[in-house]
């Protein structure tokens, strides 16, 4: 009996010991990794059949959301690492979105609300990276690392020019290998919008600067059908009217191709 009690005590002690980590032992340093975009992939004849995949980060956010500035900080940190390989888009909508008043700018849109509904966003901040399901912003760096290492057979480019009150947009797509079936989506974003934002301490910052804010879905909420086979090279043209409330110097266009498996490729260009 005494032996059993001793044994149970020993097991208890062993488990307790494993459950404590001293302050000095809590951080494990890892070898520094510099981001390098995936190399092009060639076939046996030396033709490029896949290129580095850029990554679309849709940040479902809202001006009433107190923790959303934390997610924005994460986006800024990710952008420092991945540069233009990361294409972040702030989608204002849902319960924390603000549609604005006569005196206060609201950044939520019906399109943003539709996306929040579609993804069943019930709390914010939350986001999706290349449309592989929702992730907490604490998880974005891990998902980003995986996505940024991938290649894709779809090559994309975009140009956007302002003429009068319209943006003329041209998106070109090249299918380097295989076949693809999905949708082509084009958005207009605006940077540097000064508007209210709730802060983590519950206060409201009226001078908060909002970047990469989704302003409009140029070709509908879910885009146009897009199919391509190896060798297909296409040019797609769009026009977007610019309301007076948008700052024409800070507009950009994001175009991406996606289907049920996620975003295949994305490209971003500033409006000239």
């Amino acid at each position: 009996m005494k032996a059993k009690i001793f044994l149970i005590g020993l097991v208890g002690l062993a488990l307790s010991a494993c459950s404590h980590v001293d302050e000095a032992d809590r951080i494990i340093e890892l070898p520094k990794k510099d981001f390098r975009a995936a190399d092009d992939v060639f076939d046996q004849r030396g033709n490029v059949i896949a290129v580095a995949r850029q990554v679309l980060l849709e940040d479902f956010t809202g001006q009433k959301c107190v923790n959303c500035p934390r997610a924005t900080e994460t986006i800024e940190e990710l952008h420092e690492i991945y540069g233009d390989h990361l294409v972040p888009v702030s989608i204002h909508g849902g319960d924390f979105g603000f549609h604005g008043t006569a005196t206060n700018i609201g950044l939520a849109t019906d399109t943003g609300d539709a996306y929040c509904e579609h993804w069943k966003v019930t709390y914010q901040p939350v986001g999706t990276i290349n449309r592989h399901g929702l992730e907490n912003f604490e998880q974005w760096s891990a998902v980003m690392e995986d996505e940024a290492a991938k290649t894709t057979p779809l090559q994309m480019a975009a140009e956007a020019t302002l003429s009068g009150d319209n943006i003329s947009i041209t998106v070109t797509t090249d299918c380097l290998d295989g076949t693809y079936s999905g949708k082509l989506q084009v958005w207009v974003l605006e940077d540097g919008i000064v508007a209210m934002q709730s802060q983590p301490d519950g206060s409201v910052n009226r001078e908060y600067v909002h970047n990469h804010v989704l302003r409009a879905a140029v070709n509908g909420t879910w885009g146009d059908d897009y199919t391509a086979s190896k060798g297909d090279s296409r040019s797609h043209s769009f026009t977007q009217a610019v309301p007076s409330s948008w700052d024409r110097q800070k507009l950009s266009v994001v175009a991406f191709v996606y289907n049920d498996k996620g975003v295949e490729q994305v490209v971003k260009t500033t409006v000239k």
Partner: protein
């Protein structure tokens, strides 16, 4: 959709038919060795509609959460299982991070062997140690919670008044069991069985002690976006709980304390702080008078079997709520959710008194008065935002923090005036910290008035009328609610209600966001038919977006509109 409905209906019919005979046999067992079969069917269905005004967007053409439970009992062996059909779940249940909720299958199944006072369960099971501070595996369908354990549980009663439990398993995470392994043991001793003087003086004194261990490996947590540092996470988290429960006559006292070792998780922003919970509860209950006084302090006690999990899933423990779960619609508009990770000081006092019949206050039939007060406040905190891997804040045990999380003072009167009329009145004064509970907004201070009258129109006909009003200057402003419920015993019940946001949106807390027209009517109508152990309810109406809470745990429910059908059957 037609095929889904047909499949569902066929399944229900099949199980109903299959259950009929054993149920009949079970109700009158012929011998102790005979097996009995019992069970239940619960199916809640919605044919949704879009309603832009209230923000209701339909997800498919048909939604249902359907559960079928079957239990076989015999002298030595029990067995059971639960079939769930949630392929197209009701709105809000499968929203992020609960997306795993969706599915169909048999997630609960168990076999229990019984010998004397001892039992061994293999399969899925529920369990609670003490008040649940360190272990509570339970099901709460209205919240979509089922954190049952899949594994083995042994309960032995080796001596009179002594119960020992030991268990190990993995928690259900909707359709997977992907959390860490949870093991534990609990000992409860009824000392009055061993100490004669206690028995002689009618004292009941029980002591209990529990231990729970979580073994978790696998997930990596990086301290920065660069991912140049990661946390050395504890492989095991241990928690223990001790308690004393003393009762004599109408008096009762419960004292309980629990502690948890380092458990860095998404809930506590990965700090290595220990957790603790303490509870003191005293009660007195004698005919006509009841008194309850409770205090609870918790600190960093979110305990899950997977440290990266958020939302409602994979909680190993549960802290009892010290706030009243209100049933009146407007009283439940701003429900409080227990702050497990942040910690809280919570107090509750309740006095119930029945004024006797044929007295000045009691009238001809007597009158019940109940006063309940609950107050929840933050614990002492240094206000520093610690980085991942830090030990975290220090908190003095008895010192309060700066923020009031919740306060509710409510007075309820219940009096029958005549044989044909009974009236319930309630006044409630509430302070609700929306920023803490919902992570937006500010403090909402409201006054709520409820009148609930029951008219006996005929021997089998009753009419119940509710009128409620919520007054507040914050958030969405004032609300009014009315309900008429006609009962035609024994089978029929007709209900109509409307909740209307009649006030002006936020005039104080966040005037900057005051933009939206929220003056909507949330109307509902239901017809309920009951016969035997069958109950079916059909309805149509709107449901407001908000939080549905039970026991301090909440689930967000989006706005909905459409036709509803509910079916319940016990066999």
């Amino acid at each position: 959709m037609k095929r889904q409905l047909t499949t569902l209906a066929a399944l229900c019919c099949l199980l109903t038919a299959a259950a009929q005979e054993p149920a009949g046999a079970g109700s009158t067992p012929k011998s102790a060795d005979e097996a009995t079969v019992s069970g239940s069917i619960q199916s809640d269905m919605l044919v949704p509609q879009n309603d832009k005004a209230i923000g209701a967007t339909k997800d498919g053409n048909f939604n249902t959460n359907t559960y079928i439970d079957v239990l076989m009992q015999s002298r030595y062996v029990d067995a059971g299982g639960r079939f769930e059909y949630k392929e197209h779940p009701l709105p809000g249940y499968a929203n992020y991070p609960e997306t795993g909720f969706k599915g169909t299958g048999l997630p609960n199944f168990w076999l229990k062997g019984k010998l004397g006072n001892n039992e061994l369960t293999v399969g899925t099971f529920y369990e609670q140690f003490g008040s649940g501070f360190i272990l509570r595996a339970y099901e709460e369908r209205s919240l979509g919670i089922d954190n049952s354990l899949l594994g083995a549980r042994l309960v032995v009663r080796p001596f009179r008044g002594v119960t020992v439990k030991a268990l190990t398993g993995w928690q259900r995470h909707y359709w997977t069991w992907d959390g860490g392994q949870v093991s534990g043991a609990d000992l409860e001793i009824g000392l009055e069985q061993w100490i004669r003087p206690l028995r002689d003086h009618d004292w009941r004194l029980s002591i209990g002690a529990s231990w729970v261990n979580k073994r978790e490996t696998g997930d990596s947590v990086f301290t920065n976006t660069l991912r140049s540092q990661m946390l050395n996470l504890p492989k095991y988290v241990n928690a223990w709980d001790v308690r004393v429960n003393l009762n004599k006559g109408p008096w009762g006292v419960l004292l309980e304390y629990a502690q948890k070792t380092q458990d860095p998780s998404a809930d506590n922003y990965f700090v290595y702080k220990k957790g603790s919970a303490a509870l003191l509860s005293g009660s007195y209950s004698k005919r006509g008078l009841s008194v309850l006084l409770q205090a609870k302090r918790s600190e960093n006690m979110a305990f899950r079997s997977r440290r990266l999990q958020t939302g409602n899933a994979l909680f190993i423990n549960h802290l009892p709520a010290f706030t009243l779960d209100h049933t009146y619609a407007l009283a439940a508009l701003y429900p409080y959710a227990t702050q497990l990770a942040d910690g809280e000081w919570a107090y509750q006092a309740e006095v119930g008194y029945t004024f006797k019949r044929r007295t000045w206050l009691g009238g001809r039939y007597g009158m019940n008065v109940k006063v309940n007060y609950s107050y929840v406040r933050s614990i002492d905190d240094d206000g520093v935002e610690y980085p991942y891997g830090a030990t975290g804040y220090k908190s003095k045990f008895f010192k309060w923090g700066d923020a009031t999380y919740y306060q509710d003072l409510n007075v309820q009167l219940s009096r029958r005036f005549t044989r044909g009329f009974k009236l319930n009145l309630m006044y409630m004064n509430q302070r609700y910290n929306q920023l803490v509970v919902e992570r937006h907004g500010g403090m909402i201070h409201s006054n709520i008035f409820v009148a609930d009258g029951l008219f006996q129109l005929a021997p089998k006909t009753q009419l119940r009328c509710e009128l409620q009003y919520l007054q507040t200057k914050q958030d969405l402003g004032d609300w009014v609610y009315g309900l008429l419920e006609l009962s035609l015993a024994p089978h029929w019940m007709l209900t109509v209600s409307d909740m209307w946001n009649c006030g002006n949106t936020a005039t104080e807390a966040l005037p900057t966001y005051n933009n939206e027209n929220t003056h909507h009517h949330y109307y509902q109508g239901f017809v309920t038919y009951s016969v035997g152990s069958h109950r079916i309810q059909a309805g149509y109406g709107r449901t407001r977006a908000g939080y549905n809470c039970s026991g301090g745990v909440c689930r967000y429910v989006p706005a909905t509109k459409g036709f509803t059908l509910s079916y319940n059957y016990n066999f």
